[in-house]
Assembly symmetry: C2
Homo-oligomer: 447 residues x 2
């Protein structure tokens, strides 16, 4: 098979030695390391199709891989699968200004797409901190969300067209990107979020937006986490709201102590919302009115790009600060808006009960009800207990056990908490229809 | 089977006489009339499931039916199917103000949903002229678009959760409506637009938006259809643009002559765009600047609700005016923005060549590239020739043969113009996976 793979993509693009494959078998968190007989790097869609047809012939399992920035073990060969890297499909087509769209190859990074959009005076509004590594294929496969979903939606909402290859080598291509197009099932929407289990995304047609001419960024301080959570409903009424990021005292103190960056207030507050609005008009009055209604204890408005960057730095360095305490358990969940405050108040106690001495760090995209629960000080042996306890709490509150990271291998055992047996059985029916031999990411998503 | 159906839904809700079923076997255009052994009207989702399980047992074909306002023959029993009417599933749940969502039964009308949203100070922004009859189930099944897609997206984008029943009676329910929720395949997005062929939608969780406090409506007059089409790119840069509706001289003259309503200009112009923007702030300056760049020959701004209604009346009475000339061939297509002008200039000639003496009426949602091509004066015998000629022209231009109406029975024979054999084969694989006996709308969508 290795020899036949070389015949398809060229010998230089079938990697087999331990050193050559090292960066493909380990995800960037270092939590997930696997092994592979070969990493295959096709040059184009036709080669992807030929590789998959070959693997289908022999029933060879395949893990499709993009930037490998996922957090749930969905893109590394944990069971000895062949790795199908899309990194060479990196073309970013010209921006169509009339449609405000572009077509990008699966291997193009988010930063590549953002730069191409900016070059045409437009914006690709999905954004996340792994923008330099995360790829279009991976973002479509996991329906990436990120910082600005409240305003611009997730990747599925941005997807105007797709190109993908099914397990048997069938190429699906629907890239015209028409605004209204009801001509059959939306295969793009189905592939989006399927985590490489239904097909391999090779290109995407993406919707861009006008670049906002005005942006307002402010930090609101609150007397309690519940007060901050309660303020979200007011802020969500601002139609140009692009972010409302939650931080709490403990995390902010950690960032301050480690990196010397802190909110521009004399003292720390129990909770904060970093809020931003961006639009073609100046949204400052609308945002200020909503902030007033939210009754914060204090407000700092960024009056310069540096001030804006300083506010965002406090939020963005949370992950790094927590990682310095040792590998955290990272859980990415969504709560119904009405339950967010109750969850934030309860989750620390739940963690402590399942792993005495553990510390809970909370931050995230409060505008979406999306909380990143990080837990440190829990021996690896305690990971499962913490994961189970937190995800069960989320499910009890009517939330989602995966907001934006997907199920991967980590959360497969918990999928039943939020999806019914009928739903999971239906997922299997679709999986069998498109990948009857189960060669595509066979150990991901489905329990 | 009829007796068993009565056992499930009650004798009063299994209609069998010719008079009793008359309004269920004929669509509202009158173009499609079928026959049915029975119209079944379940009271709730459990009864829908029981009805489908029974039909699956016997292999009985079923046509799911909502408001029967579709235009492509997708909701009437043209081959003697049982009609499954969802009209009794009419509950509209309370608005969740924190999430800005509500759950509505399949039988609730669009007007019901809009009223419930308005009652909470919010807006359900999908809108179309059949709002008093079109139902939630039908709108989800056909991914309804309508007047404001440019700003608010289509029904799929509004769908935060779903409840549906598969052909075998399996109930799928995922109605939490979380903003971020990557826990498996998006069955809602797949069912949306599947035209009743994959499952029967019984309820939907719908995203609402803030009610715009400001609205600006204006009519722009142009010296040619191409100039109007070219202006769309400028107008689309207004982020609060909610509509840019195309009209042309012939259609406006017809509306004026029949109904006495006309644009507020001294003479008719070759083409018009009815433009509207709505937002939390006053969008008049942004819209005026874009309109200036579009270089219209004349502009009328509505300065009162009555003036706004008068402008919209010219646009909305096009359908009625054309229908008075006899049953038109109605084709609903999307063009790439860059090809819209060329299509509009060419389509009349194409129609004339395929059916000499026929007249072509053009109007539609230009902001989406969506044109409603109506053709009159073509004997019924010429319908197929006109349909084929126009849809082939659309396909040549890279457009979609169905913008918002779906494929139904009318366009099945043309699906190959815009979808590849690989795509259609993939549709069939999904159909077989979810409805292996092909009992759900078996004569719709797939060729």
């Amino acid at each position: 098979v290795i020899e036949e793979l070389r015949g398809i993509v060229g010998a230089a693009h079938v990697l087999t030695g331990a050193d050559a494959v090292a960066r493909y078998v380990r995800d960037w968190t270092g939590r997930f390391t696997g092994a592979t007989p070969a990493v295959v790097r096709p040059a184009d869609t036709a080669e992807v199709a030929a590789v998959l047809a070959l693997c289908a012939r022999d029933g060879t399992p395949v893990v499709p891989q993009g930037g490998n920035t996922g957090l749930v073990g969905g893109s590394v060969p944990l069971h000895g699968e062949v790795v199908l890297s899309l990194e060479r499909l990196r073309a970013v087509g010209p921006v169509d200004p009339a449609a405000a769209q572009l077509t990008a190859g699966a291997g193009a990074t988010l930063a590549d797409v953002q730069a191409a959009a900016a070059g045409a005076g437009l914006l690709y509004p999905v954004d996340l901190s792994a923008r330099g590594s995360a790829t279009v294929g991976g973002m479509v496969a996991t329906n990436a969300g990120g910082l600005h979903v409240v305003r611009y939606g997730d990747t599925r909402g941005r997807l105007a067209g797709y190109e993908a290859v099914l397990a048997d080598g069938t190429v699906l291509r629907h890239l015209a990107g028409l605004e209204k197009d009801n001509t059959g099932y939306d295969l793009g929407a189905l592939l989006c979020g399927s985590e490489g289990t239904l097909g391999v995304v090779t290109a995407a047609r993406l919707r861009l937006v006008a670049r906002p001419r005005h942006r307002v960024t402010a930090l609101l301080a609150f007397s309690s986490v519940a007060a901050a959570a309660g303020a979200v409903a007011e802020l969500r009424q601002v139609e140009s709201l692009t972010a409302a990021e939650l931080m709490v005292r403990e995390g902010v103190a950690l960032v301050r102590d480690r990196f010397g960056v802190a909110p521009p207030f004399a003292e720390l507050h129990p909770a904060y919302l970093l809020v931003e609005a961006a639009a073609g008009h100046d949204p400052v009055d609308e945002l200020a009115a909503a902030a007033d209604r939210a009754e914060p204890d204090d407000v700092a408005v960024a009056d310069s790009p540096d001030a804006r960057a300083a506010l965002w730095e406090v939020r963005e360095r949370h992950t790094e600060a927590v990682n310095l305490l040792g590998p955290p358990v990272k859980l990415d969940v969504t709560l119904p808006h009405a339950r967010l405050a109750a969850f934030l108040e309860a989750v620390g106690t739940t963690v402590e009960a399942s792993c005495p001495g553990a510390r809970t760090w909370l931050f995230g995209h409060a505008a979406d009800g999306n909380v990143h629960v990080n837990v440190t000080g829990c021996a690896p042996a305690g990971d499962d207990a913490v994961t189970a306890a937190v995800l069960e709490l989320v499910a009890e509150q009517g939330g989602s056990i995966s907001a934006e990271h997907g199920i991967g291998t980590v959360k497969r055992a918990y999928l039943h908490l939020v999806r019914t047996p009928a739903e999971i059985a239906t997922f299997r029916r679709l999986k069998s229809a498109l990948d009857p031999q189960a060669i595509l990411n066979p150990h991901v998503l489905l329990p």
